[in-house]
């Protein structure tokens, strides 16, 4: 038997680079040398690794060939969008708001006035136009870790930079709205979100992805969050992209002593979605909570990869992801909890439950627990099942039709995640989407309101 080792420096075949190399050349030149070096670093990393294939363990269930085949262009930085229809999907949220249309900052639709002293929120492009790289940019997420993080770096240009100084508590959430339009040519955007919270600072940040019907763009986000001792960040992601959108996100959190990070990853839209969420618990007393909900139908594909690294003793994590899959949709959950050598008195819990509404829907779930300490409390589990037919009958026996009965039970399955959200606007949106997106649309709004 002959074993052929793959050399890391072996040339990557062209198809694995897709059309992105042409995109690099088409990109407007960087305004300053430091930015150019950063982009070149990303480009070199991308050309070295190429787009992942399913032979790579982390991409075993997710095929990105459709992304390689598509010919994405960068949105025109000058072109304004009069009124993207997707913007109507914005949540009516009392918040500081930044709007990005196809990755381009839309100052007119944004509203950042009234921020308290000690808090700064600005588009990345503002830093870059001053010839400045914001602190933290590309310092945590390794561009060599994934072709998509490399691509994001190579196209560094826009995003959100949020700094909340020591002891500052934001009175309203920060709402980042990403609108994808159905342009003649599919566009790509590579937003970078940088969040820096000082000692005991507190903020709530929502990333909301919406799109015009038919938008088949690529949104490839990288997020880096730095939590100083005692800081608290509540992070929400609500993905309602169009049914043809490609969505990739890599989000990483560096947590110092006694910091608390809470994540809600709520995925309803997109043709292909891949979320990587990675918390590094680097200080004692740090705590992270991951809540996730994914609801896919048709031929939607949604892949959630999470990592919690307990790097020091007395760190805590709790993870609960729920998937609802209908039609021929496919879901992936891969959750890794890692407890470093001698990181004692750690508590780490993880759970993934999935509901299959169709015989042809599929879920691949893989909880992983790696423990190198002896005094820890950890558990993990995964379950997959169908709706309880006895419960369906019990509801029908009260006169509730079959579809409403199934919607109620599906909503009930998701309920635990929605009840944990602190922003009711988000929970309501998801409730309505989950109930309204089920077969033969019906309306549970009256019921939802009454339960409040």
């Amino acid at each position: 038997m002959t074993v052929t080792a793959i050399r890391p420096d072996a040339p990557v075949p062209d198809q694995a680079l897709g059309h992105f190399s042409a995109g690099f050349d088409a990109q407007a030149p960087a305004a300053f040398a430091e930015l150019e070096r950063l982009r070149q670093r990303g480009r070199a990393a991308f050309e070295a690794v190429g787009l992942p294939t399913r032979r790579i363990e982390a991409w075993k269930y997710t095929d990105v060939r459709a992304i390689a085949r598509a010919d994405f262009v960068l949105a025109d930085q000058q072109g304004g969008h009069a009124s993207p229809r997707g913007a109507e999907l914005a949540l009516a949220l009392d918040a500081y708001r930044m709007v990005f249309v196809d990755g381009v900052f839309d100052a007119e639709r944004s509203a950042l006035s009234g921020l308290p002293a000690g808090a700064e929120v600005a588009p990345l492009s503002r830093y870059l136009s001053r010839g400045e790289l914001p602190t933290g940019l590309a310092s945590m997420v390794d561009e060599r870790a994934s072709a998509f993080t490399a691509l994001n770096l190579a196209f560094t240009g826009e995003g959100a930079v949020i700094e909340v100084g020591r002891g500052v508590e934001l009175d309203r959430p920060i709402y980042l709205l990403f609108v994808s339009t159905a342009a003649e040519r599919a566009v790509m955007s590579h937003p970078r979100v940088i969040l820096r919270l000082g000692d005991n600072a507190r903020a709530t940040v929502l990333e909301h992805f919406v799109g015009e019907s038919g938008a088949a763009n690529l949104t490839n986000l990288v997020g880096e969050a730095f939590l100083a001792p005692g800081a608290r960040l509540d992070h929400y992601k609500l993905n309602e992209a169009s049914e043809r959108e490609f969505h990739i996100a890599n989000f990483k959190i560096d947590q110092a002593r006694d910091s608390h990070f809470s994540s809600h990853s709520l995925n309803l839209g997109g043709a292909l979605t891949r979320n990587d969420l990675d918390a590094e618990l680097n200080g004692e007393g740090a705590r992270t909570d991951f809540w996730g909900l994914f609801f896919a139908q048709g031929r939607q594909h949604v892949d959630n990869h999470t990592v919690v690294n307990h790097n020091v003793a007395r760190t805590y994590s709790n993870e609960n992801y729920k998937g609802i899959l209908d039609d021929r949709a496919r879901g992936v959950f891969n959750g890794r909890v890692y407890i470093k050598r001698d990181a004692q008195q750690v508590r780490g819990y993880q759970n993934n439950a999935n509901l299959l509404l169709s015989d042809r829907a599929e879920i691949d779930t893989k909880p992983e627990l790696e423990i190198y300490a002896d005094d820890v409390l950890c558990s993990h589990g995964a379950t997959t099942g169908q709706l309880d037919e006895n419960a369906v009958f019990a509801l029908r026996a009260r006169g509730i039709d079959q579809h409403t009965a199934r919607a109620l039970l599906t909503l009930a399955f998701a309920g635990e995640i929605l009840e944990s959200t602190q922003l009711p606007e988000i929970a309501h949106r998801v409730e309505r989407r989950v109930a309204g997106m089920l077969p033969d649309r019906f309306n549970l709004e009256g019921l939802v309101e009454l339960g409040e």
């Binding site: 029908r396 026996a397 006169g399 509730i400 109620l408 019921l447 339960g451």
Partner: protein, 250 residues
């Protein structure tokens, strides 16, 4: 109101009902008694439309409609409601959701608009008070973590809100202590009107001390072996079922 003619049904190839005849007129309360395995629960399951029961012969007519041709939810909307012996726990579905969805489904079937929220809340609060149930109950998931008594009260509460034309009560007294049974019986009695019929399936006579039936039927081996008035229930209490069996075979 309800007319059952020569009803035959089987469960997993085993014949359970072997020719049941039963007619219930509006406003009447009927009780079906019988030993274990006689087919009491099968009869109520077939009327409610539960899956897993195959009707092999006969008919059930409700207000002139062929009940066996109706979907489970259509039967309920038409006014046939079953109170379960073992109410199902439905985690995550709040009682208030269930009650409102059910009531609106019935109204829709009648061509009425949805009930306005304030009116609905007033209705629910009245019925809760009558059943001696706490308001916090509305926000709890259906039957989840309920005691046996709470589950049965919940079944009756649903009846009070949904106001069926025919209420089927399957072993509604099982697992209840005497106080809980009195509350449940009071709820059932409050359902009694000149045009509403009630069919009680029970193993024990004691429930019939509190809900007094107009007619009592004894179901034995898939057929109604004897019918009478409330006196028959008392006779069964003192003599058991054997004397009827003997009469059958004589």
């Amino acid at each position: 109101m309800l007319e059952i003619k020569d009803l035959h049904a089987k469960v997993e190839d085993k014949a359970i009902l072997k020719g049941v005849d039963l007619t219930i007129a509006p406003g009447e309360v009927h009780a079906i008694m019988g030993p274990n395995g006689a087919g009491k629960s099968t009869l109520s399951a077939v009327i409610a439309g539960k899956e897993g029961y195959e009707v092999t012969g006969g008919s059930i007519t409700f207000e002139g409609r062929d009940l066996l041709e109706m979907e489970v939810e259509e039967r309920a909307q038409a006014g046939v409601l079953m109170g379960f012996q073992y109410p199902v726990e439905i985690p995550g579905v709040k009682n208030v959701y269930l009650l409102r969805a059910a009531l609106n489904a019935k109204r829709k079937a009648q061509g009425l608009d949805e009930i306005p929220a304030p009116e609905f809340m007033r209705l629910i609060k009245d019925k809760l008070a009558f059943m001696k149930m706490d308001g916090a109950f509305l926000q709890r998931a259906v039957n989840e973590g309920f005691s046996g008594g709470e589950k049965k009260r919940n079944e009756i509460l649903q009846m009070l809100v949904l106001e069926p034309k025919l209420a089927l009560l399957d072993e509604i007294d099982s697992g209840l202590d005497i106080d809980a049974m009195k509350v449940v019986a009071e709820g059932v009695n409050s359902l009694r009107t000149a045009d509403r019929s009630i069919l009680i399936v029970t193993h024990y006579q004691r429930l019939l001390d509190y809900i007094v039936p107009d007619h009592v039927h004894v179901l034995i081996d898939g057929r109604i072996a004897r019918s009478g008035d409330k006196g028959l229930a008392l006779e069964l209490e003192s003599r058991g079922y054997d004397w009827i069996l003997e009469g059958e075979h004589a």
